[in-house]
Homo-oligomer: 316 residues x 6
């Protein structure tokens, strides 16, 4: 049974070979995209067992997603193949200036049909952490209920709950996002917002104020991601700014937040204190931005040692 | 105002570069697919004006579809760009033995939201033919109503109605397909079924019996497509088997039926009799099978002359 | 009948997939290139009707060019398919430092065989603007005569003439270019030179002096393109520097001048004054540089609103 | 602990995009190739647990191989990452007439350094079958010892041994191959030769004679693969020819033998008799030849039902 | 100084990645094409020294051609780089049924500007064979004069002249082709026509009659290529049909004629008699058809031994 | 006989199409890589004859390497095709931040089997320069002996010896590299180290000190490459810093050192003094960094004139 359990949707991503408007793009590469599976792969690569709960369509895209994630060492025994609904897909549109758009084809997807009955109580109960994101409740009402049920199980079994708000305004309104995520936050041990998410959820992008408001709302540990600058965390007892690692150039920021979460939870699993765990989170997040792709840059502990200069890398 | 008007959904097709299960395919090429737009392009290439009524999403894929079809010389002035719904997409899975599967992402697509209000009465009224297929009524109830309304307008204005059954069992049940298409058929002047469609609609794959049953059901001209063998047609007065053109090898059969319909209607537009028009339909259909792609092989009249050996082709 | 009419050659561009000397490049992508058709597409995208007069070979490349341009909403009814001559093609050689070379295969191309007889007097007469460039007269003597004849028709019918010098020293000598273009300029209402073109034509790259000299030579409105800085314009009565829009990085400058011209003429067509029209020209030109390709970045009026921050873009 | 355990080398395959001499090929696709891992994936897809024992280099190619095979559902807990030696690679050269050559870069590869110490006795002991091939002993003397040790462990624990001769004359001489493989055969319960392998090992390609000679040499069940014709098997008590399944065209024969072995062992694991198991083996082998790639065509039990016409496939 | 000298144009070929009309093809691969350079490469691969006389543009395409041909072992010391004219290029259009079209951009190319002054008398004089084709005189009048001058030099120095008619009706009329090539034939020692070329030149496709008419016209050895059937040759004294080598499937016929010529001349250079030389020609021609590309399948003598089964190929 | 002779290994390089860990890369392009052949190509392009001595496997990769290098104008008459060993290959792993790793498959390669018997004494004796690198002695003991023998021959015949240390720590230890290369240096006329190589060989990265120590060790001319800054050289009599040429951006540094060496030796061959020759070396090295690839950017003398602004380039 894995040490960390997460749940959420992973879709097939059709990534254009060229930048510019999709009207003029001729070729696409098939990849996968999913915040929670990125997180699980990140935890696995850092040396801990992770499990990913989801539904995919019983189709080629669903099989691809499961093989990919299982191949990365994540337990996929709790993933259901749904005969009635397709695997979600989405298209990216990338621009040379770094901007991008996404086009979702996920309405009515297999993952949006997750229900509380999909949850294996023992599976969650035997974990140390349950990690959830604000994407899942936005997918459908049954997904919303599923994530609440998972939180309830975890809570009743003493499993710590970690929440990454991951607000996607393409999926719901600001107001609805705020209501639902604040409700989840009130049940969570750990919250990992960015500054913009702080503004949307508690009306301020000041890290100290975000932390205070979220602690008051029920969270036990709040870690605010500040990008290249690092992160600020606060608990009832303690608060600290932990500086980040400077990198020459952010090559691809996507996936950095998932890596940050994986680093932080992995630090805690190693028995490290919060400061040390945030430091690991910062390092993992930084390294992810150095490689194109969501999971390609997720480091092993050995990569981290090299990244931090504590260990010499392989002769290049 | 075009001589021929048609309506239906066109989607973006993601065509895999390699054969085999999509799980193992890495690259896809963007193309388009739509039976009615194939038909319209076919008519246009044979020298007649054609108009295509539809909805696409107000997104890059919708713009791509409209530019492609307009580029081929079809009037797209009646196509609405829908801000509320995406352009439909689908994926093909191709096998070396010629088999293929499709994976649709078209539920709730822009085209599925067509309504009778989308129809411009004068536009239809000024045409000589309205061409419809059995795909459109399967997309949604509002699409069903739209195609019925188009037929009603045409009928009231003396515009001839041509129907290609095009039964897609991925979209509805056999029984529902039969009911709806037979209802449309009863209003149509021309019906262009294949043998298998005959079996599904009137319970026999014998061309003579199909023709008789469909004439009795209200059609004026029934032309049954017999693949490489040619076609059999019947009216109240007359019936004839028109032999096809032998080709060394069928390279890609997709789109041949649309080309057949384009050839037949174009023949009638030229004032040819039914036999001559079926001959043209056979020639167009055969030629389409010689080239990969739905519209790439659609011929001009000059290509047809060369194909039939009546004229020498360009020095190769 | 279109509001704006233009004429010129469009070729098939073979664009290498990789940078570096063509000797070592293995793959090329087929695209199109033509200053005047870029302009027409730009006008069409900004909401006005545009027509493009030309010749292409009656070959696959010619058909491709016509379909592409018609697909973008430009009227191509005046394009002749020439059985006797091929469509022109050219190859680009691109370097990482932004430099590029072109290799033309356009001598004796279909477009170089345009003659005054190709012109439909009524077609030009019913337009509000005729847009010409300094490329066409350099293609052949019959092209030279054709462009002069088009100017003559426009002039006699009260159609305003707009001239983009577009000097290509690969096609003719500096001296011949100067003679011919200054002759055209003397007949033009609007001239849209760059600074370097000013130097070649009137011997100075000072915007004020260029404007004065060109006004004296017969132009009514002179707009000098100053790249990212913006543009300077002058008429008999008025002169003004209109600042440009700063962009983080010029991704691809090709096509910016054509976009500028499309923006300016579209502004005038909307009834805007010169300053407002130059502002639109600046915005269109800037936006084109943000996207790879000549026409891929040409904006709609809605894109311009978003670009200028007057309207919120689609959620990305 | 898996029901079936196998061991052997898997390499990264660089597969040319085009046919013809590699001198003129510009692009290669990265895939994997390994007879024993094909077998394990085949068993897994047919619904049984399988484990693959091996070594790969602690490099990107080694990680790729492990992720791929684990992704397909095979247990890879016994795979060692070797810091001292690289993962083997090989290149294919394919011709239009179906011929192919391979170029190995596997001398001194990580897998060639497997030793008896790599074997986990309990892991093998808890399986029902150990599957070995004649490739492994040809890789190195330590590999030879490893496979012998694995056989010894299996024998002592009552685990059935299955042997696929898989003779590769690029790796050793005919005589050495014969000596070593016949020695292994004498310890095996099941042998699965082709006819040509029969000739090399026991001097005849007559199925009946091959079977008799191999039974006399110590095997308990001999199944001779006869390609599209099917297979012939014999035990002490019984012998039978089991006809194959005709397919329209063999698209890619590579991997058919591995699929055959996977089908046969899976049949036995299901408790089927030999005839039924050979029938499954025939079906699996046939289906593999219908899809390009070694593992892409390996079927699930449901695919088999469809293939045999016992069940209707998904609507295509 | 090479044993065999040839002269002619080699162009850059832009070969589409996909079949079908070029209008719909997006990517092209750069290759080279030239009958005489194919011949020279063929001779070189069979173990004899060959030199190729030509002009290419002093541009990247010209450098590519020279490097490619020199890389294959052909002497290119007599190739001029022309600063005033570009290297010729052409596009292929390929169809699934094996048909193809070409689109030339070679008018005014560097090679078409060859003049008699380009010829180095000593270079030709020291060879044993001069090989010419009927393409060169069709390129331009100066090319015509150049090939006549080369023949004159050869004749005066006792160098044997070999002629491959290679009639290209895209370049000139039948009548002009007949006049010029028959004039060249009257000066030639060896002529290597196909049957269709026989019909165009001497009005019959009967091999015996072709041979007789050409012998009477001045040729010393006439070898008529009969495709897979083999070849028929005749001299004053002797005539024989030499059967060809059956191959399972002709993969790509282009270049087979050039390979045939290379095989025949190489046979004579080895001191073989005509029958033996035709046998080699047949074998080389057959083998070329087994591999895609003009030169990719040109064999070494060792390949020929393997092809004829006289020697065992490398273990595949 | 060439003016410059060099010897060393050239391998086939499999270059990934995308950046990032090879685990996730799907496509590779075939190229070649070899310091000494880069040098020879560089010399050839600067107008001097160069010969490259080596072994490659008698396989498709070996043939590719020989054709490529011969195509670039280098004499390959001394290259042996080895039937017993394969051509070496290597893979690159490239990152967006400019870092890269290599994975070698060269142990036991054909080139590593070079022996002193491979050397043709007359071939070396007739050259003006023998150029060697510190890579060759690291490949095998027989390679070490071969390079020593080549040096001995050169020395005895008055051929000047030029040494590029080219230290590869993947192939041997620092200490062994130092011993062997310093031994070679003691026999050399010219040494061309970088600063880091200076540190490894003589314990300092100060150019003046490196030069002094190497002169004392036996070298006659020491030229220390200082990257974009230029180079410092010293002889017994003279020492000078020669500034480099500033370039806007280093696109690809690989091959710059080989180009530097080619430029320096070519300068000496032209009879220029050391300062002038270093200037040419600087220019060649700078230009190589402006183009992706090892040899793609190697300039002709005309390119150098343009690069230095002494001559106008072709109209772009």
């Amino acid at each position: 049974m894995p040490e960390v359990v997460t749940l959420g949707e992973t879709m097939v991503l059709l990534n254009p070979i060229n930048t510019g408007p999709l009207k003029y793009v001729s070729h696409f590469v098939k990849q996968i995209g999913g915040a929670e599976s990125n997180f699980a792969i990140g935890v696995s690569r850092l040396g801990h067992s992770a499990g990913w709960i989801s539904r995919v369509g019983q189709d080629e895209f669903g099989k691809y997603i499961v093989s990919f994630i299982r191949g990365e060492g994540v337990d996929t025994s709790q993933v259901k193949l749904d005969k009635e609904a397709p695997t979600g897909v989405y298209f990216k549109e990338r621009y040379e200036n770094g901007e991008s758009k996404v086009y979702y084809y996920r309405k009515g997807s297999a993952a949006s049909r997750m229900t509380p009955q999909d949850l294996n109580q023992d599976y969650i109960a035997s974990a140390k952490f349950l990690h959830v994101s604000g994407i899942t409740p936005a997918l459908s009402e049954s997904c919303h209920q599923t994530v609440l049920e998972a939180i309830k199980i975890a809570k009743s079994k003493g499993v710590k709950i970690s929440l990454d708000p991951n607000i996607r305004l393409k999926l719901w309104s600001e107001q609805r996002a705020r209501e639902v995520i604040m409700e989840m936050l009130s049940q969570s041990d750990i919250v990992l917002p960015g500054q913009e998410e702080g503004r949307l959820l508690v009306g301020t992008d000041d890290p100290v104020k975000i932390a205070n408001k979220m602690l008051r709302a029920g969270a036990k540990i709040v870690v605010i991601k500040l990008g290249e600058k690092g992160a600020y965390y606060a608990t009832e007892d303690k608060a600290e700014f932990v500086p980040g690692y400077s990198v020459s150039k952010v090559v691809d920021p996507i996936g950095a937040g998932d890596g940050f979460a994986a680093g932080f939870i992995s630090g805690l699993l190693k028995g490290w204190d919060i400061t040390e765990s945030v430091r690991l989170a910062n390092a993992v997040g930084s390294r992810v931005t150095q490689v194109i792709g969501d999971v390609e840059g997720l480091p092993t502990m050995e990569d981290i040692e090299v990244f931090l200069g504590r260990k010499k890398g392989v002769e290049r």
